[in-house]
């Protein structure tokens, strides 16, 4: 039985969702990790695969060829600017976005940007494109900041997205997470997405819950994982129960299986 629930956006809704998160915290054991790893290893193909909420929601379909654009860059720059703003609140969010862009451009100028990276794309872009990326990132940062501040509880930006590599399965898992609210041993993770949730947003959210737990060195599962879609005014959330973790893990395995089948069909 899934704990997936839905709430409409409202000023006190996020605060209530965070404060009423379950007090019991689940922990993944080595046995749990081993079981998932073994299933993914059994489906290992010749090429490497990456599983994330998007691929789970789209039955293993590939995300297509990724290209940097102002809208694909906004979350990376906007979240980095928010992390900077949390550390130095005297700086405005717009200052922080500008500083992040300056840092990325500097990285490219000094030769530290690798090919295909955000820094390299920005450095090769026209001033107008850099300005649009700035506007988009500022807009994103304002949106996340308004949401996080409305929670009324102490929060921090997630240092990175969640990553977990499955040894000998040529599989890496990537989970999105934007900000966290931690009280005692309870950790509530909030993931913000543009647009509106589709019919498979629930499985996507559960897969992010599992990947977040796997990436935690102690295997501690978030007591609640909240998906926020501010554009649609909607929250979806799942609790970190073993039932949901199990369902999330199954969704990841199913997605790996679907990808494996698609690759076999392409090869045939």
């Amino acid at each position: 039985m899934s704990t997936l629930r839905h709430e409409r956006l409202g000023t006190s809704v996020l605060a209530a969702l965070i404060q009423r998160a379950p007090k019991d915290v689940s922990t993944l054991s080595d046995e749990h990790r081993g079981a998932l790893d073994a299933r993914l290893r059994a489906l290992a193909g010749k090429s490497t695969r990456r599983l994330d909420a998007w691929s789970v929601e789209h039955a293993g379909l590939s995300n297509g060829s990724f290209a940097w654009r102002p809208t694909t860059a906004r979350r990376a720059i906007g979240n980095a600017a928010l992390r900077r703003h949390v550390l130095a609140p005297s700086l405005t969010l717009r200052d922080c976005v500008n500083l992040e862009i300056d840092d990325l451009l500097m990285k490219s100028v000094t030769g530290y940007a690798r090919g295909g990276s955000l820094a390299e794309w920005l450095a090769k872009s026209s001033p107008a494109v850099v300005a649009l990326a700035t506007s988009e990132a500022w807009s994103w940062a304002n949106s996340v900041f308004e949401l996080a501040s409305s929670s009324g509880v102490p929060w921090e930006m997630a240092p990175t997205d969640a990553y977990y590599d499955v040894a000998q399965a040529r599989t890496s898992l990537r989970g999105r997470r934007d900000f966290l609210a931690t009280t005692g041993n309870r950790r509530v993770v909030v993931r913000v997405r543009a647009g509106s949730p589709g019919k498979s947003a629930g499985p996507g959210l559960r897969s992010d819950l599992v990947i977040d737990a796997l990436s935690n060195s102690s295997g501690v599962v978030a007591s609640r994982f909240i998906g926020a879609w501010p554009d649609a005014g909607v929250f979806l959330y799942v609790d970190g129960s073993f039932g949901d973790v199990r369902m999330g893990a199954r969704d990841l395995v199913r997605t790996a299986l679907a990808q494996e089948r698609q690759q076999r069909e392409l090869a045939a």
Binding site: G10, T11, L93, S126, A128, N142, D231, A232
Partner: protein, 264 residues
């Protein structure tokens, strides 16, 4: 009917923000009532039927047929898109060299394919030159009246929102060029602003009402005001959002749902 301010101020954004001391307190119960009213109205039309595909309503609820051919011409659309990019760049305090070239560069980085991109590719040199001159003229009006964007205004550009009603049978979709303010404050502070390259007409009033309704349903917080600037004529409409205005918007939506439920 709401009063509209027809005088174009020196700083449109300053007018949108207004005087913080005179802002009304947010009525958070209003959104729930409006939603229930909409749901009941849609149920009266649908009689509980479920649609295979949702009925999608956008801000141009009723576009008169005679305007369709003019407004949907690809050159007019390109002009509209490029002027909206000028606004997005202005929010980043961009120093324009040639607004047309700058907006074009930004737009092509974001949208390298699609119908409009193809339409642009098919334009001849003369048509491109005319488009450039046209966009620069509109940009001059916009940049001359916009004013400076302050960092504390909680800016969102090109806000694309949606609201599902009647279990997904009706979908309200909206795009607002610029949103200022926060819905988390006790006094209303959110201002929604659109730039249009067409002259303002009565139709624009229902568009602005639609923006206010979707924002109210989405955030459970009615915005402070909605406004639009015509870069063609320099006209500026600035409307304070009141419960009456939201009820008018709700009536607009229900009228269109009734007209289109069986047609599409």
């Amino acid at each position: 009917m709401q009063a509209v301010d027809l005088q174009t101020p020196a700083s449109v954004l300053r007018v949108l923000r207004g005087d913080p001391a005179t802002r009304p307190t947010v009525d958070r119960a209003l959104a729930g009532g409006l939603r229930a009213w909409l749901e009941d109205g849609i149920y009266d039309v649908s009689k509980g039927e479920t649609r295979e595909r949702p009925l999608i309503l956008r801000s141009n609820l009723e576009t008169p047929r005679e305007l369709v051919s003019i407004e949907s011409s690809s050159t007019a659309q390109l002009r509209g898109v490029l002027v909206s990019y000028v606004l997005r760049l202005a929010c980043a305090q961009f120093n324009f060299d040639d607004p047309y070239r700058d907006a074009l560069s930004a737009w092509r980085a974001e949208e390298s394919s699609g119908t409009l991109a193809t339409a642009y590719e098919q334009l001849g040199a003369d048509e491109r030159a005319r488009l450039g001159a046209d966009v620069n003229a509109h940009a001059s009006t916009l940049l001359g009246h916009l004013g400076a964007v302050q960092p504390q205004w909680n800016v969102r550009i090109h806000q694309q929102t949606s609201q599902r009603l009647s279990g997904g049978n009706v979908l309200l979709r909206d795009v607002v060029d610029l949103r200022l303010g926060s819905s988390a404050t006790t006094r209303a502070s959110v201002a929604l602003f659109d730039i249009t390259t067409s002259p303002l007409s009565a139709r624009m009033e229902s568009t602005l009402r639609f923006h206010a309704l979707v924002e109210t349903l989405r955030t459970n917080t009615p915005p402070l005001r909605v406004a639009t600037l015509s870069s063609a004529t320099g006209e500026f409409w600035n409307i304070d959002v009141t419960p009456d205005l939201l009820v008018l918007a709700l009536d607009d939506v229900l009228d269109v749902v009734e007209q289109r439920w069986t047609l599409s």
